[in-house]
Symmetry: C2
Subunit: 221 residues, 2 copies
DNA sequence: ATATTTTTTTAGTATTGCCTAAACAATATT
DNA sequence: AATATTGTTTAGGCAATACTAAAAAAATAT
């Protein structure tokens, strides 16, 4: 069991996130942009993380997270997301106000605390942004991408892609605030024409035709 | 608004606690013992806290906390104790297992978080050890000391003193685990002879005569 | 193929918070 | 009063994490 400092955990998390989507050899500059530190600081930290065997690091060639590293990153992400659920569901934070506080809470070191928090929250599978919460073994529930119109009434999800990427369609999405990453929930389905009433980002409702909904892909929750 | 690091907050808290009971000119060695650091480290830190005007410090003569310092110390204590209540009441921690985790949680910097946590917990006035929780202005509820036998059924408190301090009486208290600092709760009162059934430290029950109970002073909660 | 630009690393510095060893101040002992 | 003891501070160092400036390597352009 390696010990990681909070700073090390943050860098490891950044490497993990930048490695997603199968990206290989994450660059020093990318990490520096993500972490808002200078590349020189990143180089320092990469050597340390490499010594602790949570990343594979070849100078000038970028880094890849190891299996061991992934485990640590996922536990930090688990903690972050559980705290976000707590803040939103128990302390009535808005879902877009929780990140910074969770960023601090995620570094509290107490396995029993997280286990109990998970229980207390009823073992949630997704955080308030719709991102999946890894379980204690680091397993994340894979979610299918579905067109928005196939969700059942009151089901929700997060917009992750669009099928139609014409300028007109994107302009429309922009206008109504249905960006990639937005959280949506089906409030009503009109049987007659398949049109929908949607709650966007827990803030505003929006009516959309079936044609539009078919072109919005969501990760279901 | 000064900013204090976690380490500074911890030292300030130590100075505050050591200053209680009207003790003046807290010594470097006392702080070093409390903080489990070396006296040399304490000297370093005292200079920093003095620069930030949260303590009055004259070399070789010990320190006194300033009014400003007291405010900061009380806010940290408030956070610590609110988190303890959370851990015990919501996450089912035993009341003697919460200190270390609360020691980390107390340094999370988010005023709104604490305000909401306080609300969520129903504005508790005492932590699981029976210590009072300062309000957002730093005011602490003064609690009357009462003989244990005058508490009502199901009322609880913390033993803070004894009236009779004979060896025989202290030996008895020692035997039954009713030390100064122990948390007690009245489980039953026998009308006939005024004897009591008491829960000690949430762990074991104990029968005591009215004579004994009259000599145990508790801070009511 | 060489020159230029970009990226990355190294070297050296600062700050925080701790340490040890040595110096200094206050107090107790003879 | 002189000395021994205890308590406190200073000096100098170390580890972590950041920085800037400069050097080195890699990538790109001419």
């Amino acid at each position: 069991m390696i010990k990681l400092t909070s700073a090390e955990e943050n860098y490891l998390k950044a490497v993990y996130h930048l490695s997603e989507e199968g990206k290989k050899n994450v660059s020093t500059n990318d990490i520096s942009a993500e972490m808002k530190t200078k590349p020189a600081s990143v180089s320092d930290m990469l050597r340390k993380l490499s010594d602790k065997k949570v990343i594979d690091y070849r100078k000038y060639y970028g880094v890849n997270i190891t299996d061991e590293g992934k485990k640590y990153a996922l536990q930090v992400i688990r903690k972050h997301r559980l705290w976000e659920v707590f803040l939103v569901e128990k302390l009535r934070f808005a879902w877009d106000e929780v990140h910074e506080v969770a960023e601090e809470l995620e570094h509290i070191k107490s396995p029993i605390l997280i286990q109990r928090l998970d229980e207390f929250l009823g073992h949630p599978k997704f955080d308030p942004h719709g991102d999946p919460i890894p379980d204690e073994f680091g397993d994340v529930k894979a979610r299918p991408r579905l067109p928005l119109n196939v969700l059942a009434l009151n089901d929700g999800g997060q917009i992750v892609a669009v099928k139609d990427s014409s300028a007109a369609f994107l302009r429309y999405l922009d206008k109504v605030g249905a960006y990639i990453g937005a959280r949506v929930k089906v409030l009503d389905k009109v049987e007659f024409d398949g049109s929908l009433e949607i709650l966007v980002d827990n803030k505003k409702t929006l009516f959309m035709s079936k044609d539009v909904a078919e072109n919005i892909l969501v990760l279901q929750q």
